[in-house]
Amino acid sequence: MVNDELKELLADYLLECDERLISVEQALLEIADIPSEDRSALLEKVRRDLHTLKGNSGMMGLTDLQSLAHRLEDVVADLDPKLPAIEPLLEGVDEFKHRLTELRAPAAADPDAATVSTDIAKEASVRIGTGDLDRLLDLATELLITRNRMASLTAEALHLNAEDPGYAEASQQAWQQLEEVRRQLEKTLTPLDSGLRRLRMVPLERLFSRLQRIVHDEAARSGKTVALVTRGGETPLDAALVEVAAETLGHLVRNAVVHGIEQPDGRRSADKPSQGTVLLEAAVRGRWVDIEVLDDGAGIDRDGLREAALARGLEMAQASDLHTLVFRPGLTIRSEVDQSSGRGVGTSAALDAVHRYGGTIDIDTAPGIGTRFLLRLPLTVAVTEALLLEVGSDRYALPISSILETTDVGEDDLLTADNETFLQRAGLNIPLIDLGSFFSATRTSRQQPRYAVLLTSEGQLRALLVDQLGDVATIVVNPLHPTLEYPPGLDGTTVLGSGEVVMILDSQSFGGASTRVAS
């Protein structure tokens, strides 16, 4: 109990620290660009943030962070507003962040930790307004009320006796009442679902400030002057995508500064302003969030890249494709690997993560004019929990939300009448669909249907007969390929962690299919 409270306290502390540090970092990066008479006010804000960090760290008993914040406060107090030297402060912020990472996971030095960031399971924090929270709580309360009504209805139904006169009528009525409850459930679940989804949206602004820092550092390191201009920071992004977007945009922005923007004298001789510009522009287009990364640098040297690729033995067909050339690891991003060894994942892995969520990256480049990357991500990620089912040698994913119950099935549980097979359960005859015959699966003698999954399909109760029940997995739902038509029963594809592609079942297409059962 005490332990849980401590954990919660620590989580609050870490979240607040993150926000204060971002605010400090942003202010420091901004300071050189504003008139010197406005700088004192901004520095005052930095000092206040540091003061809060100091106080909070002290309360948590983290004396090293407390004194670090105190030291930084002193540095800010001594800063000359006319010529602020921000580098030591940025280093201090980094040190602070590093300590926080250690606090989050004591084993963060573990190299595997770097790959976690594109994992679907990665936890991200969002802040919730109490108004939103109250509305969701109201919906949850309604669910509880509906649950209670359902409990009393099923209790009544269980007491019905098939021998009693009027049984048919009574059971018919019970079903109707249950159907009403189901409608009520849907009426509550839909706004609950969309409300929760909205909570998961994060404004891109937060991510942009992280990129500001990358531009600053990379420009300083390579002796270039580069301005980052951002537009559309208010564009919302699904929280599940924040890490993937941050990782990918980090690569793109770093790439733009290191490889795109020329050295100042090179730019001047090309009749360009000596300061290079990187533009980040985000907008919602239909069901997509488009994030453009434009730089006014030298453009990508296709021929140079192609030669480098061919020297490494890439096939010619691949070598002519700009996309492959840029995203093949080890071609364009060597320097970046040097600088940030151990941090983050490679460009190729970032691209894979973008694909896994159904996103794309496009590249356009014009020699001497610049380069444009377009990162396109879905507005909302269709992530769902699904049960993996085995039928013959095939595997399918069935969204948990459609499943009422799973059960093992023996010969005695089945009833065949009028060419239809039923699963007998709780006095009911539930139409049974053997998924194996439905999808013409080949079964070996050892593969036998042994389990049934109960679901409602178009309002009808159905049982799906399968061989094995697998794990429950969090899957990203990809729509079916639009060029090819697929038969009923399928709703999309997903790529499992193992790389295997699995078809997703459409629970709503089994309503009328009860006659397709092999006896």
Binding site: T230, T277, A353, D394, V501
Partner: protein, 175 residues
């Protein structure tokens, strides 16, 4: 953070325009395919424009799509994408059968949509002169005439030229 209305932003707008214009020129250039990738299928040589060929990708396992037309071999994972795999041999009505377990597929990218083709072997990348492409072709015994863009005679080979839209523009496929 710099706001969107300052000088570098405006400068970049013109830059973006210029970049977009040069894209259009690129698109015009791409209208005239000259570089092709040739491959073998049922003892004949075929070719696709290189700009529509992503790669000859190694694949692991193909997942069956029950009830799909027989030319659809299934779906597989190429760089995180689940893409359909099509037996080109059967699609073109060529004799013989595609290998049951291909370990590489020719990934065709048409307007951002990917599809995998099962072919016997990928040969090489070659430059063809557009003026020497013969439009009229009739190959006896094959039902592929609709899919053939033209024919091309090289010194030692006769290539049948395919268009990527053949596989990706059609809404229905027959099995």
């Amino acid at each position: 953070m710099a706001s969107g209305d300052d000088a570098p932003g405006d400068r970049l707008l013109t830059f973006a325009d210029r970049l977009r214009r040069s894209e259009e020129e690129d698109a015009e250039r791409e209208e005239k395919p000259e570089i092709w990738v040739s491959f073998q299928l049922a003892g004949r040589s075929f070719a696709l424009p290189v700009m529509h060929v992503r790669e000859f990708a190694p694949i692991d396992r193909i997942t069956r799509v029950p009830g799909a037309p027989s030319i659809v071999r299934g779906v597989t994972n190429v760089r995180g994408h689940a893409i359909p795999v099509v037996n080109l041999r059967e699609l073109l009505g060529l004799p013989g059968q595609s290998p049951a377990d291909p370990n590489r597929i020719l990934v065709v990218d048409y307007q951002g949509r990917w599809i995998g083709l099962v072919v016997d072997r990928v040969d090489r990348v070659l430059t063809l002169s557009p003026s020497r492409i013969q439009g009229e072709t009739s190959i006896e015994g094959l039902t592929i005439a609709d899919n053939i863009l033209g024919c091309y005679e090289t010194d030692d080979d006769s290539l049948l030229l395919l268009s990527a839209s053949t596989f990706l523009d059609r809404r229905e496929t027959t099995g």
